[in-house]
Amino acid sequence: MTHAAATHHTSMGLDSRKMAFWAFIGSECLLFSSLISTYLVYKGRSVVGPSPHEILNIPFTSVSTFDLLMSSLMMVLALAAVQRGDMKWGKIWLFATALLGLVFLGGQVIEFTEFVHKGLTLQTNLFGCTFFVLTGTHGAHVTVGVLWLLTLWVRALQGKLGPGQALTVEITGLYWHFVDVVWIVIFTVVYLIQ
């Protein structure tokens, strides 16, 4: 993470890394829109079962969703702590965010395994293809986020992350909240509106 850009003159008064990140998020929106659109276009077109309502476990995934929402809250607390220089709580909240992210990923692993046992694999039908690729892509994003959070946490433990790097934490937060929002959309579209 380049630290120099922050000190430079910028024409828009917005840090370059943050701006690049917003552009990245814009780009990611198109990625997930394409995936979600495909899911919707192919909904109900599978020629063999199982179909979503036979497979999806809404109570279980609601808990995962709540978990991910809470991780966003942890992220907010982490950023606030780092910004006010409270690195003790900064470390705790960062770790908590990463932990909740890991819990979500664990939930996804359990969910996927259960679906495979119930007879839904990537190859079974169109629901399987679109479901696994969409939620899998999201899971990959969460994984990257967890790695990133853990990296920051380790840096913080080493004393290399302080209020001077608040912007880095802020950008991490942007990413994390984005991934969270995408999940809300996926949860709504895939699980709630069947």
Binding site: S16, T38, Q123, C129
Partner: protein, 596 residues
């Protein structure tokens, strides 16, 4: 050598982009010549059907992704920071990463010409053979079992990463790194068009990435995204591809339009007529480019309502395009036009782009398009747009900025030969294709019968293609002569209005000894309200810190082709190795002390 490999200097990266892309341009050109030789006569048998299909697939893929886009990128890199008065791009190492990823992706794609035996193929060439548009379900494993399509879909995903990274970088650079006083409506037209292009890149490439990922899953993991018998439709690919593909057309043409908007004012000694209109029509074209994709699919049978809507949006896009052409002509009107080679190419662009635009209107009309689509008429159209448009525009840029980029002026008389040979050659090559198409020859066929009645026209077209090749040779001779005999370029050989002409040619590594403060849209020209700016001093008044190079962009980039080799060769450990290289590269890069 090390200084080039580890460089993060936008100017060096620009030159790397230029030479790499130019080599790919020659490869793509060679493929075109082989295609034209095969079609010079009916029942041609220079190459087999399979090789021919690989040739046209790779010609299209190479020209779009490995030649024209990166040639534009070489100007984004070299010129944009200079035009906006910056020391470098916003993220120099990300910029190096983009370049290396592009190079490696291009090499991976082209390796497919030579590695047949590794895949137990009976011949050397296992190059992609599904067309540059790779329509599913022909590209499914069932119908294309070899590694050909795998090379294509993996190569394109890698190239997409390069384009996306460059997209974020240049958006931030142009928005955020402008010199003091350079408001958005003082940004030179070329940099503006670059900005629009990059917005198209970062929005269009994710869509094709998704399409390619689906294809990859279908081919490697047995999913059914494009398999009709599973309830899916291969049309999903066409929608995703053209949602990307049409913005891609503007990704290819807008930079050339930007170049022309720089060259014309300089050589007519008149400001760009209707600067604001030209800029906003570029933005409008960018927006509208998203609403027209189905005009590539009129023969698909989308129904009369969809056809009418897309015909309407497509015709509408002709309006801002026409506006640009009228403004360019108005720029020349009343000027003092000096006929430099750059101006020849820029005017050639306008003249040819008009033809391409008008034939475009003829197939914006779905019923007419039903006769034209997938025939040589459309081949004529895209070559008037992408060769007559983009390539001529890029050559205008090459002659215009060559002195800035290399310190020497390209020869003008060889330049004129280059232009006229190109101009005559392209019209001989591509004009007959209109007739060939209307007389019923489909595109992408490796052979045709003499009964079709298009043999003589095809021969003319082949002659034209070789004339273009001669023109390219003349250009190469010009380049070589210029290295030794070229006139050394002063700061400003043309009397240009923009900031890149205020500094030495080639510029020092820090570009501007003092970052200029900009007070007008034409900072180096005298206008009604402004005196010309004073050029920065030759020697910087204070030492300027120049960031060191970095290995990590290259190393991170190397992870991607290794990752791609995993599915290609069905070797799992390569996936872990590739991911590890990528991860290490990114980590080391992130924690490297680096001042930009």
């Amino acid at each position: 050598m090390k200084r080039w490999i580890t460089t993060t200097d936008h100017k060096r990266i620009g030159l790397l982009y230029f030479w790499t892309a130019f080599c790919f341009f020659l490869v793509g050109g060679l493929e075109a010549l082989l295609i034209r030789l095969q079609l010079a006569q009916p029942n041609g048998h220079l190459v087999s059907a399979e090789t021919y299909n690989q040739l046209f697939t790779m010609h299209g893929t190479t020209m779009v992704f490995l030649a024209l886009m990166p040639l534009s990128a070489s100007f984004f890199n070299y010129i944009v920071p200079l035009q906006i008065g910056a020391r470098d791009v916003a993220f120099p190492r990300l910029n190096a990463f983009s370049y290396w990823v592009f190079l490696l992706g291009g090499l991976l794609l082209n390796a497919s010409w030579l590695v047949g035996p590794l895949f137990h193929a009976p011949h050397w060439n296992v190059a992609p053979n599904g067309g540059w548009f790779g329509y599913a379900n022909l590209t499914e494993r069932q119908f294309s079992p070899g590694p050909n399509i795998d090379f294509w879909l993996l190569g394109l995903q890698i190239l997409g990463i390069s384009s996306l990274a460059a997209g974020f970088n240049f958006i931030v650079t142009i928005l955020n790194m402008r010199a003091p006083g350079m408001k958005m409506l003082r940004v030179p037209a070329f940099s503006w068009m670059t900005l629009v292009t990059q917005f198209l890149v970062i929005t269009a490439f994710p869509v094709i990435t998704v399409g390619l990922v689906f294809l990859m899953f279908d081919r490697f993991f047995g999913t059914h995204f494009y398999v009709a018998t599973a309830g899916a439709t291969p049309l999903l690919w066409q929608h995703l591809f053209w949602l990307f593909g049409h913005p891609e057309v503007y990704i290819l043409i807008l930079p050339a339009m930007g170049i022309v908007s720089e060259v014309l004012p300089t050589f007519a000694r008149k400001p760009l007529f209707g600067y604001t209109v030209v800029v906003f029509s570029g933005v409008l074209i960018g927006f509208m480019g998203w609403g027209v994709w189905s005009h590539h699919m009129f023969a698909v049978g989308l129904g009369p309502i969809a056809d009418s809507v897309f015909a309407g949006t497509t015709m509408l896009i002709a309006v801002p395009t026409g506006v640009k052409i009228f403004n360019w002509i108005a720029t020349l009107w009343g000027g003092d036009i000096r006929g430099s080679t750059a101006l020849h190419f820029a005017v050639g662009f306008i003249a040819m782009f008009i033809i391409g635009g008008l034939s475009g209107v003829t197939h914006a009309s779905p019923p007419a398009d039903l006769q034209q689509t997938d025939t040589y008429y459309v081949v004529a159209h895209i070559h008037y747009v992408l060769f007559g448009g983009t390539v001529l525009g890029l050559f205008a840029g090459i002659y215009y900025w060559w002195p800035k980029m290399t310190g020497r002026l390209l020869g003008e008389s060889l330049g004129k030969w280059h232009f006229w040979l190109t101009f005559v050659g392209m019209n001989l090559a591509f004009f007959p294709m209109h007739l060939i198409g209307l007389l019923g020859m489909p595109r992408r066929i490796y052979t045709y019968t003499p009964e079709l009645g298009v043999s003589a026209l095809n021969l003319v077209s082949t002659v034209g293609a070789f004339l273009i090749a001669v023109a390219i040779l003349v250009f190469l001779v010009n380049v070589l002569r210029t290295r030794t005999h070229g006139r050394p370029a002063p700061n400003d050989p043309w009397g240009g209005a923009t900031l890149e002409w205020s500094i030495p040619s080639p510029p020092p590594v820090y570009n501007f000894s003092v970052i200029p403060t900009v007070a007008s849209r034409l900072p180096r020209w005298k206008t009604e309200r402004h005196e010309p700016m004073r050029d920065p001093p030759a020697v910087p008044p204070a030492p300027i810190h120049v960031p060191p190079g970095s290995w990590w962009p290259l190393i991170a980039a190397l992870g991607l082709p290794v990752l791609a080799l995993a599915p290609l060769t069905h070797t799992l450990w390569l996936a872990f190795l590739g991911a590890a290289i990528l991860l290490v590269g990114i980590y080391r890069w992130a924690f490297e002390p680096f001042e930009a």
